[in-house]
Symmetry: C2
Subunit: 331 residues, 2 copies
């Protein structure tokens, strides 16, 4: 397929390579001219994947219309809160009805909408042509072609299958799903839980505490999923548990690292400077809390993370609160 | 309460300290005279917790009857395949009906029985007086009094609550459950999944692969749990997901380390020598496979682990088999 990848960050670049490896023709758009120049002339993206050589077939551009021209598949990998504005710039360059796939794990803060909802509204693309990709897919490992599995979800299974076919390689194994809501919610929420796990790690707590926060985090994710119409199997699968465990285990995870720095005593400002890139969970946490309140669902971990990010409690207080809940029977 | 801890290994010693910290009178039995001498005279267990000082109140003995005399609570922390024989030695020294709590995570290979079933049979103790303790409780962290939560399960909730009361400390938070079967199966199976995760790590695979094996591992655990009458909530909670994640994340886990060494190319013999202590998953894997076959449940990860342990496939083949399943839709 002819593919456009919107976003030259860590995941956008790794996904572009997967598409090339899957035999597609790929043009990557990035706003940063230096990233584009490096990809085109040196087959590298030193800012996000230092030292690695990208496929020579991968080309890049700073012009959205050039990337989008004739694309059958448009993959979007940019920060969640920037999505609506970029879609506005894209609208004029999209002719027919392409398949649009969101690689973004977040919730729009202002509207509490999922990424596929924002895409549907902004581009007037039929929901049956929209897909999302999620799962335990750390970009830093995929760019090195280490084996991984993911989930492609769409309301229309043949759309999911077309994407699946385009991105299957010998190291990347995508499964299909029709639970778009569950996949997007799980992807967004796991970043918030990863912030909490990072805080516990930063405070010096061990694997017992980390596993406890992950367990309660998945329960919290599933509770909110249930009331929003998601399938519980999604949360028990690669999109939920799988992605959560990968994100919370890996030192490569931006969200976990962000939380870890806060746990070590850095201020929000110092942490933002040290982390360099966007930690999706930071903007997504209040959006998730908003969604949970709208559905009257208890999300104690998300609430604690929001309180820490707002500066109203310390990380130590947050983790103490989570480990010392009052109920006696677990379930 | 007056407590006996049977087993002076890593978990037995850490649990004995929890009991002392919970305000109980504790006598620990160990077969190894050197361990007993060190605990009594130096308040240390250098073999399993080098460098750490144990509470001065903790006493130890090599005589089972001395440890068991007058004990209201008997906690058993020995290798699963040795349980029946030790219980045989204990039977004469148990007078009234104490509470017996199993800390063991395994299945008896010969009978395919859970530890609480072996205890019930061998000691003729009422099932209502038997409890099991499980959860993300790495002994190496608990001995350092790092915060953790666990699950105490018994058919009789007041038994579970009495144990809960005895072992609650400011760093250890036990929850109660009535799902003895689920807690024991989850505890036994997670060691087998940890062997598989260790193999993947030993082969140099990253967090994406590890998270995928953990996700499918939990699905496999839940499937077998369902047909044996366990509660699905147990597998989603601390006893299932929590313990699995802790075991598969921690370099302190014997089962993960055992699998890791096999993945790095060591032979079974070299791995047994290097690991020093018992990796429960090694003897439990064939028992789980036996149980699964008796219930006609598909357990591909356990099957792959059994095949590797038997020397019939390589670790690389096992992980390849697990990552390359043929179905297209995840669920």
């Amino acid at each position: 397929m002819k593919c456009a990848v919107i976003g030259g960050g860590s995941w956008g670049t790794a996904f572009a390579q997967i598409l090339v490896d899957g035999g597609n023709e790929v043009c990557l758009w990035a706003r940063d001219a230096e990233v584009v120049e490096q990809i085109n002339n040196k087959h590298r993206n030193e800012k996000f994947h230092p030292g690695l050589i990208l496929p020579v077939q991968l080309c890049a551009t700073t012009h959205l219309d050039e990337a989008l021209r004739g694309a059958d598949l448009i993959a979007i990998a940019i920060p969640s809160q920037a999505l609506r504005s970029i879609l506005g710039e894209m609208a004029d360059s999209i002719a027919a009805q392409p398949i649009v796939i969101s690689l973004i794990k977040g919730i729009e803060l202002q509207t509490l909408e999922r990424m596929s909802e924002v895409i549907h509204e902004s581009l007037a693309i039929d929901v049956e042509r929209i897909a999302v990709l999620t799962g335990p897919n750390l970009a830093g490992e995929l760019i090195a072609r280490q084996p991984a599995a993911g989930v492609v979800a769409s309301k229309n299974m043949s759309t999911a299958e077309r994407v699946q076919h385009a991105i299957a390689t010998d190291y990347f194994r995508p499964y299909t799903s029709n639970d778009v809501t569950g996949c997007e919610l799980a992807g967004a929420m796991k970043n918030v839980i990863a912030l909490a796990v990072g805080m516990a790690v930063g405070l010096g707590m061990g694997d017992n505490t980390r596993a406890t926060v992950i367990t309660r985090g998945l329960a919290e994710m599933s509770r909110l999923g249930k009331v929003t119409g998601a399938q519980s199997a999604t949360f028990a699968g690669l999109a939920g548990l799988g992605d959560l465990v990968a994100t919370c285990s890996s030192p490569l995870s931006r969200n976990r690292s962000f939380g870890e720095r806060l746990g070590q005593g850095m201020t929000m400002h110092e942490t933002i400077v040290a982390t360099k890139t966007t930690a999706e969970g930071v903007s997504t946490a209040p959006a998730i809390l908003g969604l949970a309140r709208a559905h009257e669902i208890d999300v104690p971990i998300t609430e604690a993370v929001v309180d820490v990010l707002a500066g109203s409690i310390s990380t130590a207080d947050a983790v103490r609160r989570l480990m010392a809940r009052s109920k006696k029977s677990e379930i």
